[in-house]
Symmetry: C2
Subunit: 431 residues, 2 copies
């Protein structure tokens, strides 16, 4: 870990830096892939599957037989765990269903909003070395609650040309049967533009590597909505002396194992932790699978001492972490001051892993400082809200003159007239 | 108007086409402007103000004296209209404040969400030929309800180097005093990157010309959130024989006066309208200011006859209009079938102009088919939602084993251990 003491706020910028994805460097490659998929459709998909995943798949749609096989293969213990997690994720997202009433903003002017599910959505589920089936749960459960009509999945095939059984099991559990073995930018292109095999969608969700991220940005510009900008995963831990260095170390290690560019921060007013936590990490990491890998990622981890917790919270808000763990004696005051964070974990018994899998909150969260201006995925990510209004005769009589005045002041005479025409007819009725 | 009879659904694509903004054509210019603003700050702003707005302004921040003067100059009748409109807009957006409870997803697992205002937001308010102060109302009212800490406005200066008095009046009314005389892509750059004079913001709202639109897309990629993609304004009207051709014509004209690329559609099952409405338009347009201009826009307006209203609704959903006016005998059935639209106006007495100014609904809406995957601006546009979770000892005991199973299945041993470590310590406590 890199250790810092009471850094001057003028130097916070350097401490809050994230690895920057430079779309320029990848843009050319991604642009080529997207263009090929748009122009050649399935043919391009087959070619890129060969090139990037090393598999020859004439048919890259997952068959029902493949899903059946996967369902049979999954350990019943894992099945039970997934089902319990789904129950919790469902409960948390179902509580987000909102009831909004029709309101009367002025006499006779009735206005309301209605959430309507986005009809077609597509999920990118990373496979590769580890099949991230939990990502699928986090996307599919709220999409199902919202009522999206068509949900499709793209996930990269492994060397045998298969999508991981755990991903297929989750898809079956959640009633999704359109699954395509496609990875990378070509998957994003397929979902954005559609091919003979893959239906086009209106919104693409899910994390991926830098190619996937850049591809999502590019299709976003041409009209496909995306869940949020993405970057390497992050955790910040705010801890006072009441915290356990064992738990701090365990949570930093968990974050670090996501990849060499994972961001891990310890923010504390308790100086001894700056020695205790690195020592504890060394201890815990010893017999961890992939220890070398995790160690590499922890190399650029930062432990920062602040004179007081207020400064630690200020820094956290400045940094805007994806995940924030708060292990302090009295957390209420700190919690109330958090204004920029994706998801917050409170106390000794709330490890980040709880939110990653099973507590019910969504783990698709804003990284790279985007917690300042973006929310994580929620039920609302699968809706658009349509506004409605209905004015009675009295309603247009009441606000018509206002509209006329304002429209004329904006030099929009046609707008004013569309109201005056109605008011004149109502005047005639009254006479 | 262009007239169509029962178009084959296979041909709907051509009828639903919008003018496409090709970012490629403008990208080079906009990229240069954004780069200059990022590198040179105020100096670039002063230069581009000279070049594009034809004004020499060393100081482009609006002074309090200028605002005072504007407030004095506004017609009391307009002031009163604006104040009434603000009251209605406030009522509609305040009703969107949501109460979400802390929920227990599993025993001892408490999860909740908290909306927190985006701290710094910037509004682009078009000036130019007509000062669109109503846009400012639609953005500032919900931003104030949400509690954004810093709100800034950029609006292009007119030939005299001023921002329209009506815009300044609305800003004062809503307590915004940071107003900058900057238009076009340079305004978007200033708000995204900040200059010595203009503070950087986290999210940019507001419509503009194609340069503004492309600039917003570009800064979005580098981390600044934007309200939504933008394009020319649109209206579709679904009308049966109960509708008034006078009102239909008036509403089409109102939409058309926005600009030559405005999109106007009449969808009807009543064939006589295909002659009556164009005739009525000719009549109403005669003494309208800017008639020639409106006529030009109406030239590519489409009136489409469908055998039945169901097909008209299907086409409307396919087209996904920004504004949809429904003038039919029984509208409930039609309303319930609308799945893609920005804002819907129901009945004879609900002209689109009502929602543009004073009914209370937001007029910042998705155009260009984006109503399929985006909502209009709402109170939520000014928040991000932070999720929180707090597990008790019992909570982690309950879901810990699920997390362990799932994390191991994803080959994330560190995640599993962060839970097991806690469970072991709790086991020790129990003994």
């Amino acid at each position: 870990m890199q250790i810092y003491y009471n850094p001057d706020p003028a130097k916070w910028g350097a401490l809050a830096l994230r690895p920057v994805i430079n779309p320029g460097l990848l843009a050319k490659t991604v642009n080529k892939i997207l263009g090929d998929v748009q122009n050649e459709g399935d043919k391009a998909i087959i070619r890129y599957n060969r090139e990037f995943s090393g598999v020859e798949l004439d048919d890259f749609a997952v068959s029902q037989a493949e899903i059946d096989l996967a369902v049979d293969r999954i350990d019943p213990k894992l099945k039970a765990a997934i089902e319990s997690a789904v129950k919790n994720i469902d409960a948390f997202h179902r509580a987000q269903i909102r009831q909004e009433n029709k309101i009367q903003t002025a006499a006779g002017v009735y206005c309301w909003r209605k959430p309507v599910a986005i009809e077609n959505v597509g999920f990118y589920v990373p496979g590769g070395s580890a099949p991230l089936f939990s990502t699928l749960l986090m996307l599919a459960v709220p999409a199902k609650i919202a009522g999206c009509k068509q949900i499709i999945i793209c996930s990269p095939p492994n060397a045998n040309g298969n999508v991981a059984a755990s991903i297929l099991y989750c898809a079956r559990l959640l009633g999704i049967d359109k699954i395509y073995k496609i990875g990378g930018a070509q998957a994003i292109g397929a979902m954005a533009y559609g091919t003979a095999t893959v239906p086009a969608v209106y919104k693409i969700f899910g994390p991926g590597n830098q190619y996937v991220t850049v591809a999502k940005q590019m299709v976003n510009i041409t009209g496909t909505a995306i869940d949020m900008p993405a970057g390497p995963s992050e955790v910040a831990i705010i801890a006072d002396k009441s915290a356990s260095p064992i738990f701090i170390a365990a949570d930093l290690i968990a974050q670090a194992e996501h990849g060499p560019d994972s961001q891990t921060l310890l923010l504390t007013d308790h100086e001894p932790f700056l020695e205790q936590v690195p020592a504890e990490i060394e201890k815990q990491i010893k017999d961890l699978p992939r220890a070398a890998f995790v160690q590499k990622s922890l190399h650029h981890s930062k432990a920062i001492h602040f004179d007081n917790l207020e400064a630690a919270v200020d820094f956290s808000n400045y940094y805007a972490p994806e995940h924030l763990i708060v292990m302090t004696r009295s957390s209420d005051d700190i919690i109330s001051k958090i204004i920029n964070a994706g998801s917050v974990f409170i106390g000794d018994w709330s490890p980040e892993a709880a939110g990653d899998y099973a507590s019910g909150t969504n783990h698709t969260l804003p990284t790279g400082g985007f917690a300042r201006n973006y929310s994580g995925v929620s039920l609302d990510s699968f809706y658009k809200y349509i506004t409605f209004q209905e004015l009675t005769r009295q309603g247009i009589k009441n606000i018509g003159p206002l509209i006329e005045t304002m429209a004329n002041a904006e030099q929009l005479a046609g707008h004013a007239r569309s109201v005056m025409t109605r008011l004149e007819i109502l005047d005639g009725e009254d006479r």
